[in-house]
Amino acid sequence: MKHLVSMRDVGKEDILHLIDLAERIESGKIRPDLSGKLGALLFFEPSTRTYFSFDTAIKRLGGNTLAMTGSGSTSVKKGETLADTLMTIRQYVDFIVMRHQIEGAARFASEILDIPVINAGDGTNQHPTQAMLDLYSIYKTQGTLENLTIAMIGDLRLGRTVHSLAQALSDFNPTFYFASPRHLQMPRYIKDELQAKGVQFKEVEDIKPIIPQLDIMYVTRIQKERFAVLEDYEKVKDAYIITPDILENVKSNFKLMHPLPRVNEITTDVDRMEYAYYFPQAKNGVVMRQAIIHTLLND
């Protein structure tokens, strides 16, 4: 692997390799050394959480970062092309982590740069490090990625996280349940891809009957910023709210995941339940990003 741009480029072997590496880093069996390495964190579109996670991942391994958040303070505002910005920053650093509102920006960067590019989100397209940390979290809690029953809940149409995750898990014989408001259903192209791979999935409206079968429930926020009309958001924002009552009959291995930030889709009294895994999930992001950076710098 030279870059990490899209989960479409990451095969089953790569997934298992990265999970194994993350596990070894977390247990202290290996400690990648990033001392002397400088990574550019280019967040053309702001994202505090992903930014902090990468910054932590790099600094805890002895590396350093060069940071840019938002395009306001740079020459981008003066009309410089993305290509020129990237080519200039490339002269200073060993690798680039990039979030951009333009779809395909990371692919473009990976084609013009000769140093590793990690996609930290390109518009509504891909967010592969989130997918990888989700896979690692599932693996850690279930001991396997194979044959799991997973419900994805919330905004399945615009949430790129659930798209990447569904695609990535499709090689591991999952059973999916998709629950979302009618206008926010899983896109047809994802369902077509799953069908072509023989993956079992079912779209449901009521989540209560399926809860006792689940190994993982993956809840996403219905994103206000993705709606053009506020009224439409108001109509669907409370469609699925996870409370302790709903989780009464879950399996003992059940875990509740969420890419964060949450608004009200999981009530705070769920946080103290043993099933709540969203904060450890965020921590897993640091280790997984270390595994990704280590792999890209050494391949």
Binding site: S6, R8, T81, L82, A83, Q101, I102, E103, G104, A105, R107, F108, E111, D122, G123, T124, N125, Q126, Y189, D192
Partner: protein, 153 residues
């Protein structure tokens, strides 16, 4: 006696016949080949009856060979078309055109937020589905039915 079939579409001396174009797609093929600009003799038949297809379109152009890119693009909008090269009224080559795996630079991505519409970069599309034809942008990864994309030559 007048041959009624011949009245519909005359033969050409030298050039290319694109036959078995999906009915109603000939004008789109003509657009791809930029035939509005041509001085060459050209015949376009639309909704002709066909034993195999029920209805089909056909284009005959004198003194014009097609580039590989043009053939690839025609394959996208009419995957069953056939290509015949005519020299001195004789068929010298006949082939069924096939869908390419990748189309470079000739498709404009319909996604306004795709990097190919913002930075100076050649587009690349993969054929994601053959029937009906869908193409997928290598950059923004969005998939589009072929009817929704525009071509650029």
């Amino acid at each position: 006696m007048i041959n009624k079939k011949q009245l519909k579409v005359d033969p050409i001396k030298n050039g290319t016949v694109i036959d078995h174009i999906s009915a109603g797609k000939a004008l789109q093929v003509a657009d791809i080949l930029n035939l509005k600009q041509t001085d060459n003799l050209m015949m376009i038949g639309v909704n002709l009856s066909s034993k195999k297809m029920g209805r089909k379109d056909i284009i005959k152009i004198e003194n014009r060979a097609l580039t590989a890119d043009e053939v690839n693009s025609i394959a996208l909008i009419s995957p069953n078309a056939t290509l015949t090269i005519i020299e001195d009224y004789q068929v010298v080559k006949k082939e069924k055109i096939t869908l390419p795996e990748e189309i470079k630079s000739h498709i404009i991505c319909p996604n306004p937020n795709c990097v190919t519409n913002i930075e100076s970069v050649e587009t690349r599309f993969a054929v994601a589905n053959e029937n009906p034809v869908e193409v997928q942008c290598a950059y923004c990864e969005k998939k589009y039915p072929i009817e929704d994309v525009k071509f650029r030559f």
